[in-house]
Amino acid sequence: MSEENLLLQGHVPHVIGEPMIVCRKVNKWFGDFHALKDIDLEVREREVVVIIGPSGSGKSTLIRCINRLEEHQEGDIIVDGVELTNDVTNISAIRKETGMVFQQFNLFPHLTVLDNITLAQRHVRKRGKAESEKIAMDLLKRVGIPEQAKKYPGQLSGGQQQRVAIARALAMNPKIMLFDEPTSALDPEMIKEVLDVMKELARSGMTMIVVTHEMGFAREVADRVIFMESGRIVETGTPDNFFDNPQHDRTKLFLSQIL
């Protein structure tokens, strides 16, 4: 059976490997506000984890802790065997292996699409100009917009911008990709083009944590769905179990509102 047909049939579990991200009793406060409460989470190689939950439940905070855009105060976060501490070397080592895609794209508006993708390659990965541009062009082909390379981000549609942002993160050859509501700022017709890229990425074996409200995507791609509520993980399970047979009342309520 070809891969296409497998996809058509619905969810295909990924071949899960070693633990890639480990969170143990992670706690985070914003001042007095307890934003993450005793988060225990393990994400394995090639696993795709979708996090859902109501607004303000701490989804963004959790994935931003994983690449140290936010600092957690208690507990351990270990990414690819490196523990997140205040050590700058560890932080930069982890960030190098972790790509992140934001809701607001956050492309660099003063640089062309091509320069957006080559900047970190050249100054972090220390690749030469020609090499990094070749990689950038390959990735632009992969996300389907090689013809936009010379444009500025402001000249692209939202969907195109988000695909550039994905290409920019991928150019660093990360082992993990973090997505924070990558489609929430997009018009419906653009959501599909971004989700297609993400599906292809999942199929290629990328370890991914995706915060999203796209339930179709979660059902189709995720190995595991996590439901968060006021800073804690309330429920976790395979998509089929999670959507068809939620255990927790809060989960049921949330799903009834959203589906």
Binding site: L69, R95, G99, N106, V124, K126, Q161, A169
Partner: protein, 793 residues
């Protein structure tokens, strides 16, 4: 047939008609924009009245009253103050270089203003060449008027004698034409306008007063007569009494021309050379119909020798070809003063002693022989505008052509090497401009070269620190190594210049070098990777050698081979200019340009410092910024004047020019810091987060992501603050510097130009306006070209 059908249907398209005349064209525009409502009509009228009356009186003053010689005579001082004339060529080089660079910039970045620029250049050139040519060809220089006659000129309170000998400066081939002015009545005398000697002006004034008195008398008498003839009382007793006193007070002035026997006799005219020898036979002018013409054989002093042909009559001679002279003292390069005699119209000057008849002969002095009477527009053109323009037309042409040449040179580079190479050339040229201006203005003597060498050594030390960081990372032992580099870069200049540690570029760089070295070490260590060492090995080697060479060679030269680090070698090709002499636009520009150039990096560092997480840096920068922003520029200026010598006794010799520059930099840096900080704050935090999430270090995020965007976003604000800096430099006049504004204060104490403050201020206003406008225009171009915030998502 009338068509009143309310539901009319057109089977054919109705013919097109022009819109009503009252709604389109000029009438329509006026109706719509100026007279739309009663209030609009009222406002339009009021404002038109205000504008017209202001402009009219202004133009009238400019043309018929203003003394523009104050400007044209002092033009050099307005431009460069007392800058050494022998070094003036260097300023020309600097100006031409700058203009070439600007032409290049136009070719690269603002191609679309080329048409406007070309139009302006052609217009300017046509104006500065055609106006003088046409007015010189079409308008004769009005004659100067000199009284002649052997009898005393005594009428009313005037008691003069005509001066039989009057010295003047002539040029080879010029002709002097003398004629008795056709004046036989007081009316003609009173209507005289032009340069005239004191007796003539005295007679003119009396004649004018006499005519005026006659008019007043006639008016009063008419009023009294009307009162007497009228059946009702037109005037009160008090009014009548007042009018009668006024009438009695009117002195009886005798008719001037009659009293002095005007046009009764003739005059004998002769032109003598400086030794008193006649250059041509004397000519007798019995009436106003004859004229005497003399052609001058050489440049130099001449004497106009005039006598009456009888002992009773007085005449006024109209002399064509003689110009009033201004005597002025000029500082000699070797010391001492020399006297200059400058012709007011063409500024032809003769130096040294007035070699005429043992100085007993008075000369036709500008101060005592002013232009009196109404000045028509043609005279304004011929006496002021045309000479002024023709004096500067050639220089202006060179400057404009330099811009054109820069433009075409860059177009050639673009065609030959491509657009990227062109942009590079233009960038380098622009970046070099401040250095070229500085070197050309101050000179580049042995001390400067030593200075520059150690500065370059310092730059290499910074690069070395970065390479060390990249090669070895942030290992603890490296703190010691980098510390040693910093100590070398800081201490070596002191050793070189010991004990002549002066002040200048060196001290500035020296002050900041350890800081910079540590910052760049940290920046370099951000890209530390065990994998790519080969390149950094090479860099560490190269920069170590260069740093040592540039720091040690000056040390050897001075301390071992005995080159003096302080003596300025006067025969040196770019010898040092005395900054104390700088003034005018030169000083204004130096303060502005270097205010900008140095305050820019300092401002950026302050802005970053204020956003730093380290409390000491953060509050230190905040304190500095708020202190400076909280005090007026004038205070900072005075503080710099007073405090710089306190820092180090050596600095007592720092000229006021440099002290003012330091104040300007300190002041401007604080404002710039706030602008930049505003730009940084306006960026969404997502930019930094995206950079960090890609693994860029904090410095890399600032350098590649936030700072470029912040600077682009605040370009208008930055240029705006530079425009105000340009204008604020005028405050240095108060601490005794003669920048543009300061010079006006000096100009008006020259005896010849007392009371010309308005002319001076108007002239510098035009200069300030021109450059401010250019800067704002550039700022608008930058905004429109998308370097500003328009590229935002």
């Amino acid at each position: 047939m009338t068509d009143n059908n309310p539901n009319k249907v057109y089977y054919e398209a109705p013919p097109t008609r022009p819109a009503p005349v009252t709604q389109t064209g000029v009438i329509g525009w006026v109706r719509k924009n100026l007279l739309a409502s009663w209030l609009d009509v009222f406002l339009t009228l009021i404002f038109t009245f205000i504008v017209v009356s202001a402009v009219v009186s202004f133009v009238v003053w400019t043309i018929s009253n203003a003394n523009w010689w104050a400007v044209s005579f002092n033009f050099r001082q307005f431009m460069m103050g007392g800058y050494e004339p022998a070094l003036e060529w260097r300023l020309s080089v600097a100006v031409l270089f700058t203009v070439v660079a600007m032409g290049m910039a136009v070719a690269v970045w603002v191609q679309r203003i080329v048409r406007i620029a070309a139009g302006l250049i052609i217009f300017t050139l046509a104006f500065v060449w055609l106006v003088p040519a046409l007015s010189t060809a079409l308008i004769p220089i009005p004659p100067v008027y000199v009284a002649v006659g052997n009898a005393p000129i005594a009428v009313d309170n005037v008691n003069e004698t005509a001066r039989p000998r009057l010295a003047f400066v002539g040029r080879a081939g010029e002709t002097i034409t003398v004629q008795i002015a056709p004046i036989s009545t007081d009316e003609q005398l009173a209507a005289l306008t032009g340069f005239m000697d004191m007796p003539t002006n005295g007679m003119r004034v009396i004649a004018e007063r006499r005519l005026q008195a006659a008019v007043t008398r006639a008016e009063i008498e008419a009023q009294l007569a009307a009162h007497a003839a009228s059946p009702i009382r037109l005037l009160t007793e008090g009014q009548i009494a007042r009018l009668e006193t006024q009438l009695n007070r009117l002195i009886d002035i005798p008719p001037v021309t009659e009293t002095l026997n005007f046009a009764q006799g003739g005059a004998v005219v002769e032109v003598l050379d400086a030794d008193g020898n006649s250059i041509a036979p004397a000519v007798n002018l019995p009436t106003a119909n004859e004229r005497a013409t003399f052609t001058l054989p050489a440049d130099g002093w001449y004497i106009l020798h005039t006598t009456g042909d009888d002992d009773t009559s007085i005449n006024v001679l109209a002399v064509n070809g003689m110009q009033p002279l201004l005597q002025s003292s000029v500082l000699q390069p070797g010391g001492g003063f020399i006297t200059n005699y400058t012709r007011m119209i063409d500024l032809f000057a003769i130096r040294g002693i007035r070699a005429v008849d043992d100085r007993a002969v008075p000369f036709f002095d500008y101060i005592r022989n002013q232009y009196w009477g109404e000045r028509p527009f043609t005279t304004y053109l011929r006496l002021f505008l045309a000479p002024f323009l023709s004096q500067h037309a050639l220089n202006l042409t060179y400057i404009l052509l330099a811009g054109v040449a820069g433009y075409w040179a860059l177009r050639a580079v673009q065609r030959w090497r491509g657009a990227a190479a062109g942009a590079q050339v233009a960038t380098v040229a622009l970046a070099l401009t401040p250095a070229v201006i500085w070197i050309m203005a101050t000179g580049l003597n042995v001390p400067d070269i030593l200075n520059l060498t150690v500065v370059v050594g310092g730059v290499f030390a910074v690069l070395l620190a970065r390479a060390l960081g990249a090669r070895f990372g942030r290992q603890p032992v490296m703190v010691a190594v980098v510390g040693a580099v910093a100590a070398l870069a800081w201490g070596m200049p002191l050793a070189v210049f010991n004990p002549h540690y002066g002040f200048g570029l060196l001290a500035l760089v020296n002050f900041f070098s350890p800081l910079l070295i540590f910052i760049f070490w940290v920046i370099g260590s951000d890209s530390y990777h065990a994998s790519d060492q080969a390149e950094y090995n090479r860099q560490v080697g190269l920069y170590s050698v260069l740093t040592l060479t540039f720091l040690v060679v000056p040390y050897l030269l001075v301390q071992v081979f005995g080159v003096s680090p302080s003596a300025s070698y006067p025969d040196w090709f770019l010898r040092q200019s005395d900054q104390r002499l700088w003034g005018g636009l030169l000083l204004t520009f130096i303060l502005t340009i270097y205010g900008i150039v140095f305050s820019f990096p300092i401002g950026i560092l302050l802005a970053l410092g204020r956003r730093s997480n380290l409390p000491v840096i953060k509050y230190g920068c905040t304190l500095y910024i708020e202190l400076v922003r909280g005090s007026p520029f004038i205070t900072v200026l005075f503080l710099a004047q007073l405090f710089i010598p306190l820092i180090n006794p050596e600095f007592a010799s720092v000229p006021g020019t440099i002290r003012a520059l330091v104040a300007t930099i300190m002041f401007s840096a604080a404002y710039l810091a706030e602008n930049v900080r505003g730009g940084l704050q306006s960026l969404p935090p997502g930019q930094t987060e995206a950079g960090k999430s890609l693994g860029l270090s904090g410095w890399q995020v600032i350098y590649y992501i936030t700072l470029p965007q912040a600077l682009r976003a605040v370009i208008p604000a930055i240029l705006g603050s530079f425009v105000s800096l340009f204008k604020d430099t005028s405050l240095v006049a108060i601490v005794g510097l003669t920048d543009l504004t300061g010079f006006v204060n000096i100009m008006v104490v020259q005896p010849a130009f007392t009371g010309t403050r308005a002319e001076g201020l108007l002239f510098i206003t035009l200069i300030y306006f021109f450059f401010s406008y250019v800067m704002s225009y550039v700022s608008r171009l930058l905004e429109a070209s998308g370097s500003g915030s328009t590229r935002r998502i």
